[in-house]
Amino acid sequence: MSPLRTERSGRFLLHLVLGAGSLLMIVPFVWMLLSSVKNRADIAAYPPKILPTEWLWSNYPEAMGFAPFGTYFRNSLTIAVGHTALNLVVASMAGYALARIAFRGRTLIFFGVMTMMMIPTYTKIVPQYLIAKSVPFFGGNDWLGRGGTGWLDSWWALIIPGALTPFAIFLFRQFYLALPKELEEAARIDGMGEFGIFARVMTPLVKPAIATVALLTFEGSWNNFLWPLLVTTSDELRVVQVGLAAFQQAERTEWAYLMAGSALATLPMIVLFLFTQRYFVQGFATAGIK
């Protein structure tokens, strides 16, 4: 067999395996979309029906009417965008400082960041809640953080506690570490200050890290359920994941509505991924993270 034919066969096999893998990945998503337009009998049918007997597109508006999803989507978007913007700005600065600026205690701080990544979210809930409740001068609190509700049931509690993630700091640090020192030195010779070097020379070179952090932060924030549920009491501040949970009652689940709501809730993530996938994949490959 000629080398060309061998290469073609290999490529065909590779595409076959990748195609099968892709199909396997997309099946749950397709099943969700199909279930979102089924009636109750079709969803409960055994053996399962792949296609709906009747295509109930009305499940979508009905699902959206099940709870104030307009408000929930707006809130989720505001929080996710807020988290992403803040995380990109602050974590990139922190990552840059840890990677490129020599100062006493740098290693210790980096270990601290790494340690924070290892603390399970669940164990932080109550202390974090108490901190949010005890923020001085907010929600009727005095200067010692007593007497009022602090940040609870406000946008502050929804945005600030999740605005900076140790993972983002770690990722940015790894990327800034990989950049050549000569760039920094050349900029310094040209008279550029530290912030200029960070913002105008180094950061434009870590686009994969920016895309990766942006996507992961947005995804984590968009899918957050427990924290928004705990720190809010009014419906005006609830998020889309809390709305989706309403479809699952203790002893009954509205599957069609849940699937319709989930399909809509997934859309922003898909759109974001389509825009950032090139850098995103590059980011993971460069950082050696799976």
């Binding site: 409960a44 809930i125 109550v126 409740k133 009491t233 309403a246 479809f247 689940t253």
Partner: protein, 422 residues
């Protein structure tokens, strides 16, 4: 995770019990309740549920125009976390809707004694429902609505198998299940004789345990769910699956979209009362053609599993008069009917047996007419810490890894140290 949350909640109860502001009277000059109170509710989900609660709160406002209620909606899965965080921050909800089984762990610390008489309440509510809110002789919560689990069977499949009546003993249940089971030539299960896998395994086991004459705990709070009678409950489950092969592990599971008793894949099942709504939505012809029957699981005695939602108020609340007024209102006939009909559940108020909602829902009607057979889980302060351990023990017996007695003995040994803990 829920066990961990329960442990955190228990610590929080202890911590919050050490301080907190002194409650104010919350009464106007004429002695009427007034002010703002908070309510946390794991029911009334979605727009429909919210609409029902808002209508009820509007009716409450007519009775108590000076009281404003601030509801906070959650679900049962996250109620524990909501209560934990609210308590540690000193913002305990004034009124709480809780599940049956939650009263003993929090009685007196989180929950206030309502100062009511059990015997007097039993005139309005089923005595078994009242008992769910009683601990150490004091009433801490009033029943709003109930979730019952009982036997459901397919009359058409019974007739085809020549069976004329639902089972009255465990022996009959096994015999019926064997006769109703259908497998194809290769031995693959086509129809289960008795489905005990679509409902939470702990709740199934408890129902069978009570029917076998057993109890979860002794009156003085000792573990009793590994007594000989109690073990018979789990033995029935293992016999149905492992000996009689009336059901296969994996044939169905809790939360499946396809419910076997509705889709002709099971002839009998232990199911929840709101299956009636599922049947109405999925296969209304089963109701129209009178193909669905109900029975109380019986052996030594008849037993139905009784879950439900209770209304209680905070022991550290600042506005107890208003909170108590809301608790009483939520457990009133109108509110109970509204909450129950929104979810297909069983109203706790006895007089509602004559309501059109109950008359039109055969499962609810059946449950209300058999309330004397209702049993509730829990009963000890440490219940929330141990209840999630039942599933693994039951599954180990169903899979044949341990005998029912071994599985329950091991569970009992682990639970013995936790039953009295809060």
């Amino acid at each position: 995770m829920r066990t961990a949350a329960a442990a955190v909640l228990a610590v929080a109860v202890l911590a919050s019990g050490c301080g907190g502001p002194a409650p104010s009277s919350g009464q106007g000059t004429g002695g009427e309740p007034q002010g703002e109170i908070s309510l946390v509710t794991p029911i009334f989900e979605g727009s429909d549920g919210q609409r029902v609660l808002e209508e009820q709160l509007a009716a409450f406002r007519k009775q108590y125009p000076k009281v404003r209620v601030r509801p906070d909606y959650t679900n049962y899965a996250k109620l524990n976390e909501k209560l934990t965080t609210s308590m540690v921050s000193g913002r305990a909800y004034d009124v709480m809707l809780l599940g049956i089984g939650w009263v003993p762990p929090f009685a007196g610390r989180l929950l206030a004694d309502l100062g009511m008489d059990r015997a007097e309440l039993a005139k309005t509510y089923s005595p078994r429902a009242v008992d769910a809110g009683v601990h150490d002789g004091k009433v801490y919560a009033l029943p709003v609505m109930l979730d019952m689990r009982f036997g459901i069977y397919r009359k058409d499949l019974f007739a085809a198998a020549g069976i004329t009546a639902p089972p009255r003993t465990f022996a009959e249940l096994r015999d019926h299940a064997r006769r109703l089971t259908v497998r194809d030539a290769s031995g693959k299960l086509q129809r289960a004789g008795m489905d005990v896998l679509s409902t939470d395994p702990r709740q199934v086991y408890e129902t069978l345990l009570w029917a076998a004459g057993g109890d979860l705990f002794t009156p003085d709070g000792k573990v009793a769910f590994n007594s000989p009678n109690a073990v018979r409950g789990l033995e029935l489950m293992t016999d149905l699956i492992r000996t009689d092969r009336a059901l296969d592990i994996g044939f169905t599971k809790v939360g499946d979209t396809s419910i076997p008793i509705i889709t002709d894949r099971a002839a009998m099942a232990l199911g929840h009362n709101n299956l009636w709504l599922e049947i109405q939505a999925q296969r209304p012809e089963l109701i129209a053609q009178d193909k669905i029957g109900t029975f109380v699981i019986t052996d030594e005695r008849p037993a139905m599993f009784q879950g439900g939602t209770l209304a209680s108020m905070s022991a550290s609340g600042k506005n107890k008069p208003a909170a108590l007024a809301l608790v009483k209102f939520l457990a009133s006939a109108d509110a109970s009917l509204a909450a129950s009909s929104q979810r297909g559940n069983v109203p706790a108020v006895r007089s509602l047996e004559s309501s059109s909602y109950v008359k039109e829902n055969a499962f609810v009607r059946f449950a209300m007419s058999n309330m004397d057979s209702a049993f509730s889980e829990g009963g000890v302060p440490g219940w929330l810490n141990i209840r999630n351990d039942f599933k693994a023990a039951i599954e180990s017996a169903l899979l044949g890894q341990k005998s029912p007695k071994e599985a329950l003995d091991e569970l009992a040994a682990r639970a013995a140290t936790q039953v009295s803990g809060r």
